[in-house]
C-alpha cells in the first residue's frame, strides 16, 4: 500500500474527499481494512442499539451470573460492594429523581439502557473483560435493570427489546440533542 514519492503528487490531486477536507492532500499511508477485520474488533454499541448483536437473557438468568462474576466487587444485587453502587430504587419501584451527584453510579442515572450493555460487554468483569457471551451480557443487563425497578424479572432483553427500555432519567440531560459547538458559551460555565 505504500506509494513512491514520485506518485504522491498525482495522488494528492486525484484523491479529494467530499467532506470538509476537500483541499487537503492524501498521503496513501496505512492499510485498508476489510469488513471481516472490522467485525473482529468493533464492539461499540450506539444509544439506539446500533450494532447490538443477537442474543437474549432475563433478570432470572442474570442473577446467577451476577452472583458468580460480579458480586465480589459490586456486592449482593449490586447494592453494597466495594465499588460502584449499581442500584437505586428497587424492583417495581424505579428511582425517578431528582438525581444528585452521588447517584451517578447507578444504572438508573443512565439515559440509555444500551450504555450498560456496551460497558459490561467491553469492560467487565475486571479480571477478564470481554469474556462474557452475548447472552450473559443481555442477562446481566436485564438483572441490573430489574434491580433498579426499570424492567420486570422475567422480561427478556435482546437486540430488539433492550434499546426500547424507557430509562427514568432519559430526559435528565441537556441540551436535548448534544451539539457542537455548544449553544451555550463558554461550555465550562
Amino acid at each position: 500500500m505504500r506509494c513512491s514519492l514520485s506518485l504522491i503528487a498525482s495522488a494528492m490531486i486525484l484523491a479529494a474527499p467530499a467532506t470538509g477536507l476537500a483541499q487537503s492532500p492524501r498521503y496513501n499511508v496505512g492499510t485498508p481494512l476489510s469488513q471481516e477485520e472490522i467485525k473482529s474488533f468493533d464492539f461499540l454499541i450506539g444509544p439506539q442499539g446500533q450494532a447490538l448483536p443477537v442474543g437474549r437473557g432475563s433478570a432470572k438468568d442474570g442473577a446467577t451470573i451476577f452472583a458468580k462474576r460480579c458480586e465480589v466487587c459490586h456486592g449482593r444485587n449490586g447494592e453494597s460492594g466495594v465499588l460502584r453502587r449499581l442500584v437505586l430504587g428497587k424492583p417495581g419501584q424505579p428511582f425517578r429523581g431528582p438525581f444528585k451527584a452521588e447517584d451517578r453510579d447507578s444504572v438508573a442515572y443512565y439515559p440509555y439502557a444500551t450504555i450498560a450493555w456496551d460497558y459490561i460487554n467491553r469492560a467487565m468483569p475486571v479480571p477478564k473483560p470481554g469474556s462474557l457471551t452475548h447472552d450473559e451480557v443481555y442477562s446481566l443487563t436485564a438483572f441490573i435493570l430489574y434491580r433498579n425497578g426499570i424492567i420486570g424479572e422475567t422480561d427478556v432483553m435482546d437486540e430488539k427489546t433492550l434499546p426500547k427500555v424507557e430509562m427514568p432519567n432519559r430526559n435528565g440531560f441537556i441540551p436535548a440533542v448534544p451539539v457542537y459547538p455548544p449553544e451555550k458559551k463558554p461550555s465550562w460555565w
Binding site: 484523491a15 474527499p17 467530499a18 467532506t19 470538509g20 477536507l21 487537503s24 492532500p25 492524501r26 498521503y27 496513501n28 499511508v29 496505512g30 492499510t31 485498508p32 481494512l33 477485520e37 472490522i38 474488533f41 468493533d42 461499540l44 454499541i45 450506539g46 444509544p47 465480589v72 466487587c73 460492594g81 466495594v82 465499588l83 429523581g97 431528582p98 438525581f99 444528585k100 451527584a101 452521588e102 447517584d103 451517578r104 442515572y109 443512565y110 439515559p111 450504555i115 450498560a116 456496551d118 460497558y119 467491553r122 469492560a123 475486571v126 479480571p127 473483560p129 430526559n171 435528565g172 440531560f173 441537556i174 448534544p178 457542537y180 459547538p181 463558554p186 461550555s187 465550562w188 460555565w189
Partner: protein, 418 residues
C-alpha cells in the same frame, strides 16, 4: 475522597475483593513496574534510579490509579513526563507492544484503514505545548488540609493538571486518508486498556486541533500516559484524550459511552437538576504554587509569588494577584512565550510584612473569560444558601480562585472554606 487512612483501608478492602477473583497480584505488580519506568530509550528518570523519594501522590483502587503532579516542586511550564498526572480508569496499566499496535479508523468513512506506528510517524507531525486536566481537578470535595501522603494542597487539590510538549499526527490528516462520509458528525475513540476507555469527540473539534500523540516532552509516551499512542484533544476535559488509542469509529451522533455521560456529567440545581451531556472546554484557572499551604513557612521580607494559569478557551492574557485577601489586585508577570491552551507561569514580587493575610491569583483568557470566585461559581451552579460555604460533593469543572492564608507565625493553610 477520604483521608489517607480511609483510602488505604478502602484500597485493601478492594484489593482483597479482587484477589478473590484472581487479579490481586496484578494491581500492585503492574503499578510498581510501570509507574517508575517507561518503555523508552531513556529508561527511568535519573533521580528515581538514585532512590530520591517520589513526590508524586499516588492513589490506587480496583478501578482507578491516580497520580497527582507536585506543582510545589518545579518551575517553568513543562511537567516532567514521569510527574504528569494520571487518572487511570482501570486496575492496571496495559503493556502494549508498539510494533504490533494498530490504530483503526472505520465507521462512516470511504476507506476504513489501519495505521501502524511506522505509518503514523511517517505522516506530517505537529508538536504543541498543551495542558491536560482532569475535569474533576480542584473539586471542592478535596479542599481540606492535612493529607501528607498526597502532598500539600497545591498537589492533591490541583495536581490533576499537567503540561507537556506533545508530538503527533493531526487527526485531520488521518481522517483525510480514510475520507469522511457526509453523515459523519462525531467520532468515538476507544483505548486498549482493560477498561476499554471510550469517549465521543465532536467532528468539528476533531478536524480543528486534535491530534494522535506518540511523543511527550521529546520521548515516547510514558506507559501511564497511553503508550504507544493517545488521542490529544487540546483544551477539553481530559477524558476526551483517550489513552492507548486503538480504534476510532466515525458516527453520526454522540455515543454516550459509560466513560462520558455516566461518569463525567453531573446534576446541577441551576438547570433544574439536569446534567449537561458535555462540558467540553476547561475553564480559566490559576493557582499560586509557592508560597502555598504546607509547602513552606514564611519569614518577613522578600518572597516571589509564583504559580500557573491555564484555560481551555485559549491563551492566558492576564493574571492578577492579591496579597490582601482579594481587596486589591495587581497584574503579575507572565513567562513568555505564552502558548494557547497551556500552563502559563506567572510571577509576582512581594515582601511579607509579617501580618496575617490571604494571597490568591485570578486569571483571564484571550476570550475574555475570567476565573470566578468560589461564591460566584456556587451561585452560578444554583447551590442553596445553606451549602454556599461547604465543599460540594462531586463538583466538576471547579476553577474557583484559590486563597492561601498566611498566619503571623508564617505558616500557610488552605483558606478555601476556612
Amino acid at each position: 475522597m477520604g483521608s489517607n487512612g480511609t483510602g488505604r483501608r478502602r484500597f485493601l478492602k478492594q484489593a482483597a475483593a479482587l484477589a478473590g477473583v484472581g487479579v490481586g497480584a496484578g494491581i500492585g505488580g503492574n503499578l510498581a513496574s510501570n509507574a517508575q519506568t517507561a518503555k523508552d530509550a531513556h529508561g527511568p528518570a535519573e533521580h528515581l534510579r538514585r532512590g530520591v523519594p517520589l513526590r508524586r501522590g499516588v492513589r490506587m483502587s480496583v478501578d482507578h490509579i491516580t497520580f497527582y503532579t507536585p506543582f510545589q516542586d518545579y518551575g517553568g511550564i513543562i511537567t516532567p513526563s514521569h510527574l504528569h498526572f494520571v487518572q487511570q480508569h482501570s486496575s492496571h496499566f496495559p503493556e502494549i507492544d508498539a510494533a504490533n499496535h494498530r490504530l483503526t479508523i472505520h465507521g462512516l468513512v470511504d476507506r476504513p484503514m489501519s495505521f501502524s506506528m511506522d505509518d503514523l510517524k511517517r505522516l506530517p507531525s505537529v508538536s504543541r505545548v498543551h495542558f491536560l486536566e482532569c475535569h474533576a481537578n480542584s473539586s471542592s470535595m478535596i479542599h481540606h488540609n492535612g493529607n501528607a501522603n498526597m502532598g500539600p494542597p497545591v498537589q492533591y487539590v490541583h495536581g490533576m493538571s499537567s503540561c507537556s510538549e506533545w508530538t503527533g499526527v493531526p487527526l485531520s490528516v488521518l481522517l483525510n486518508e480514510v475520507g469522511l462520509k457526509k453523515e459523519a458528525s462525531w467520532l468515538v475513540s476507544e483505548g486498549a486498556d482493560p477498561g476499554k476507555f471510550s469517549h465521543t469527540v465532536p467532528l468539528g473539534k476533531a478536524l480543528d486541533d486534535v491530534f494522535v500523540a506518540y511523543g511527550q516532552n521529546g520521548e515516547p509516551l510514558r506507559v501511564e500516559q497511553g503508550y504507544p499512542i493517545r488521542l490529544f484533544v487540546p483544551g477539553f476535559e481530559a477524558p476526551f484524550s483517550v489513552k492507548y488509542l486503538s480504534h476510532i469509529k466515525v458516527v453520526d451522533q454522540p455515543y454516550h459511552t459509560f466513560n462520558e455521560g455516566m461518569n463525567h456529567s453531573i446534576p446541577r440545581d441551576d438547570i433544574g437538576g439536569k446534567s449537561r451531556w458535555y462540558h467540553f472546554e476547561q475553564g480559566p484557572k490559576s493557582v499560586i504554587t509557592r508560597p502555598s499551604a504546607d509547602v513552606m513557612t514564611l519569614t518577613k521580607g522578600y518572597v516571589q509569588i509564583t504559580g500557573l494559569a491555564w484555560s481551555g478557551g485559549g491563551k492566558i492574557s492576564k493574571v492578577d494577584v492579591s496579597t490582601d485577601g482579594g481587596k486589591t489586585w495587581k497584574e503579575a508577570t507572565l513567562q513568555t512565550p505564552v502558548h494557547t491552551k497551556a500552563h502559563t507561569r506567572f510571577t509576582f514580587d512581594w515582601a511579607w510584612n509579617g501580618e496575617e493575610t490571604m494571597i490568591m491569583s485570578r486569571c483571564t483568557d484571550d476570550q475574555g473569560e475570567v476565573q470566578p470566585t468560589q461564591k460566584e461559581l456556587y451561585t452560578h451552579w444554583g447551590v442553596p444558601e445553606k451549602d454556599m460555604n461547604k465543599p460540594l460533593r462531586g463538583s466538576i469543572h471547579t476553577n474557583m480562585i484559590q486563597p492561601w492564608k498566611i498566619a503571623r507565625d508564617g505558616s500557610i493553610t488552605n483558606a478555601m472554606f476556612a
